[in-house]
């Protein structure tokens, strides 16, 4: 077995009591001494910081880059402006998937427009090479220079509703940086590359690339820096801000947060099967009526000839107990085996009260609400189900009733505007 790859922060994690595990070939913190529950709750209510340096960054430049990405990436890299469609402007990014000819998922990704003919693509751990090779195969002699920055860039995710307060303390000229900063936009420079929408620096002068994205469902930012400076950036972001303590968070909390936010994990919830009949059609270039695609793209034809009879749904249970996904099955109300469990995790910030799920961050939560958590995740089944349907997850020791749902953790903050800075 190849030894797990260390991130530039591995020593810090070990020195600070992290429980380490291997994910995507990388030695990563699963949780710190605070524990995954506290870390999960911190991101829902205040702020937490994740080392996500295992993820891969690819940069692309050249005259034909836009055309290559527009063909290979599932999302339409144009926005509707009046009656016309114009390319996504500099400083914007988009979430989507790379599909093969069959419409199967190679990986999910965020594509960033750094400036004209300069793009950046962020994919999952270990996928830099795979996605690069895939793009090269479809480049067809066009003017595109591809560079795989795997293990040569570090990434930190500052997530949670108080993240802007943390940046207010950590950034140089924070008001100017944070003033106009919509969801799925970014600013700054990637390791000395072109500057997008103004320079972003920490108070000590370190330049960063700052993106209003994340994978927790909560308000927050992703930060890209060279590995040499990441430990300083990490320490700067962990400095308390008045009464606000930012805690380091591991992959266990990252997983439970993304599940509660209804987001798929690549190669687990989406993967080597057609990307259709799932909750993530927002990653496809549908027109407003959701009847046709607004552009031709690789894998799109296969998805428009739906011959695939499996359906992926989100579910939420009635208590926090989980099943083991590798051995578990899904039974419908009649006891028929209808499919498999893709993900089963516990969102520790939510619980049921009456016929609703509340989050610890719900403004209308019941008095004395103290969530124990709910199991939640995704199932892939052979027959269509509706929101509110009850199915049973069965593993070798448990049978758990869960409800098919279109929203697991309510009142998420990812899209909230940045609060006024005073």
């Amino acid at each position: 077995m190849t030894p797990a790859v260390q991130t530039p922060l591995s020593q810090w994690h070990l020195q600070n009591g992290a429980h380490m595990g291997t994910f995507g070939g990388y030695a990563m913190p699963l949780w710190y001494p605070a524990g995954a529950r506290k870390e999960h709750l911190a991101v829902v209510t205040t702020a937490g910081l994740f080392d996500t340096s295992h993820m891969s960054v690819i940069t692309l430049s050249g005259r034909d880059t836009y055309d290559l990405l527009q063909y290979c990436f599932s999302k339409d890299l144009r926005i509707v402006k009046g009656t016309a469609r114009t390319p996504l402007p500099t400083g914007k990014c988009a979430y989507g998937v790379f599909l093969d000819e069959r419409g199967w998922v190679i990986d999910d990704a965020i594509v960033y427009v750094r400036q004209a003919e300069e793009y950046m693509v962020v994919v999952n751990a270990g996928m830099g090479r795979v996605v690069c090779d895939h793009l090269k195969r479809h480049q067809k002699g066009g003017d595109v220079r591809l560079e795989d920055h795997t293990n040569r860039l570090a990434k930190l995710d500052l997530q949670g509703p108080s993240s802007a307060r943390v940046l207010l303390q950590a950034l140089d000229q924070p008001a100017a940086v944070l003033e106009t900063f919509p969801y799925f936009s970014f600013k700054g420079s990637l390791a000395g590359g072109p500057i997008t929408n103004g320079d972003v620096r920490l108070t000590d002068g370190t330049p960063i690339l700052l993106s209003r994205t994340g994978y927790t469902g909560e308000f927050g930012f992703e930060i890209f820096v060279p590995p040499e400076v990441v430990e300083n950036v990490w320490r700067a972001l962990l400095k308390p801000v008045g009464d606000l303590t930012v805690i380091p968070c591991g992959l266990a909390a990252r997983d439970s947060l993304r599940v509660g936010a209804g987001l798929p994990l690549s190669h687990q919830d989406i993967g080597a099967w057609p990307f259709q009949n799932n909750p993530w059609s927002f990653a496809l270039p549908y027109d407003q009526d959701k009847t046709a695609f607004t552009k031709p793209f690789l894998g799109g034809d296969a998805l428009e000839r739906p011959a695939f009879h499996e359906f992926t749904y989100a579910f939420a249970g009635f208590d926090l107990r989980k099943v083991e996904t590798d051995q578990s099955r899904v039974e419908d109300a009649g006891g028929r085996d209808i499919g498999t469990v893709l993900t089963c995790a516990t969102d520790m910030a939510i619980d049921r009260h009456g016929d609703r799920i509340y989050s610890i961050a719900s403004p209308d939560k019941p008095t004395d609400f103290s969530p124990k958590g709910l199991c939640c995740g995704f199932v892939k089944v052979q027959s269509p189900l509706s929101t509110g349907d009850i199915v049973t997850l069965v593993d070798r020791r448990r049978r758990i009733r869960v409800m098919i749902t279109d929203n697991i953790r309510p009142n998420r903050t990812a899209r909230k505007p940045i609060p006024p800075m005073g």
């Binding site: 009591g17 992290a18 429980h19 380490m20 699963l30 949780w31 524990g35 995954a36 529950r37 999960h40 266990a252 909390a253 439970s256 208590d319 926090l320 107990r321 989980k322 099943v323 083991e324 516990t346 520790m348 124990k372 958590g373 020791r397 448990r398």
Partner: protein
């Protein structure tokens, strides 16, 4: 993650290879999981225990502990019949993490064969075993 020297492994209990402990108390045996197990599992969020009166043989699965990461089986370090379970764990499963040998105990049993306790590992034997596992 705790290093071996950091583990709290008291002398007054004996240990099983599955990381459960057993302690002699007033003619009965108390059972729980040890510091190594709770550290490996991480935060315990749910504990599933049997009912008083249930009878298990040595090594049989008597319940589960659920951490954020996974669901893990609990195995009887000694055979016996359950005389009491720690009901406090229903509301405060984290006691298994914070106090694995005291407030986080799991079962009290009437041992089928009390001499099985002597066959379990002492602190020193258990530490040796953990060292070879690492």
């Amino acid at each position: 993650m705790k290093e071996l020297p950091e583990l709290n492994l008291p002398e007054d209990v004996h240990y099983s290879k599955d990381h459960e402990w057993a302690r002699k108390e007033n003619g009965r045996i108390r059972v729980g999981i040890d510091d190594y197990a709770q550290d490996q599992l991480g935060e315990i969020v749910y504990v599933e225990l049997p009912k008083p009166g249930d009878v298990f043989s040595t090594g049989a699965e008597f319940g589960t502990v659920e951490s954020v990461k996974a669901v893990s089986e609990l195995f009887m370090p000694m055979g016996g019949s359950v005389t009491a379970v720690n009901t406090a764990l229903a509301d405060s499963p984290e006691l298994v993490n914070t106090s694995p040998y005291a407030d986080g105990w799991m079962l009290e049993i009437e041992a089928t064969d009390p001499s099985e306790w002597d066959a379990l590992m002492s602190r020193a034997e258990y530490l040796d075993r953990l060292q070879t596992e690492e």
